[in-house]
Symmetry: C2
């Protein structure tokens, strides 16, 4: 029988093994520009390993998922971090897994607020972006040459996610 | 007499000497994730020169400017690019200058749509972020250690900007 996954709100602590959370963390605030701007400093760090040592900015425009949604595969990028920051002010879902001898374990699913982003560490198993409700744009910072920086794994039996209640 | 600056809409061509525009350029689109996502690929590239070779993600939360607004100074970051991507879906202004023997020339002012960002090349003179209408958040990718990566110049006579008409 197919297993439904719990959806948890995103917190920095819960996400720490997988990446950084990009949000206005009061502990990281400093005033700049004569006090007109709050700079939330160094919330995350883009990382690239190996050739080409080139990070790029991209925009991902994603169709919303339909529910119940089936998580059948996970992917990872061995040579770079990958960040997702919402540009459309909409909630979205991420799913991540611990690595278990080269394969993703059971996914953990997090609901992100419209003002939270994430930066996956290199080589962290994750599901492709899951937009909710409407077409949504995300700023993505990752390494160029995505095809050479990509592994995927298909679960023998997919997991399911019910529609999240905001 | 103080000079008013013209406000132009942002275009890739007009901005080319100063940096890249981060927007959903149809020429850079490829479908990914089984066709559920449009990836607008490699719209810009974060660049860092010198130590610390470390790029960081930040959020800038900016007060809106009041008009007529006085442009009295410009700044530049010799050792890294700096990107601004709007997270609040609001218009904003950028001002940039050619370098004239180590000083900024007369600024050019661009009005950005709510879905356009920019990535200044290293060492490009620009005015600090000018949010419009309400407090606005921006994702900023730049180099760590901002104080050591900073030059500023104060104009003997400031320029003025009238309130932009969207």
């Amino acid at each position: 029988m197919t297993e439904y996954l719990e959806i948890k709100p995103l917190s920095k602590e819960a996400f720490a093994p997988f990446g950084d959370v990009i949000e206005t963390d009061p502990a990281k605030m400093r005033l700049i520009n004569n006090g007109t701007t709050e700079r939330y400093h160094a919330l995350a760090e883009p990382v690239v390993i190996g050739e080409p040592v080139r990070l790029i900015f991209n925009i991902f425009r994603s169709q919303p998922r339909l529910f119940p949604y089936e998580i059948g595969m996970m992917e990872r990028h061995p040579y770079a971090s990958q960040s997702f920051t919402p540009l459309s002010g909409r909630l979205f879902l991420v799913a991540v897994s611990d690595d278990e001898e080269g394969r993703p374990g059971k996914p953990q699913v997090f609901l992100l607020g419209p003002h939270q982003g994430v930066n996956y560490f290199p080589n962290v198993w994750h599901h492709p972006l899951m937009a909710l409700g409407a077409v949504s744009d995300f700023l993505v910072v990752d390494r160029d040459d995505p095809a050479a920086n990509y592994e995927e794994y298909f679960f023998p039996s997919p997991y399911l996610i019910a529609e999240p209640k905001p």
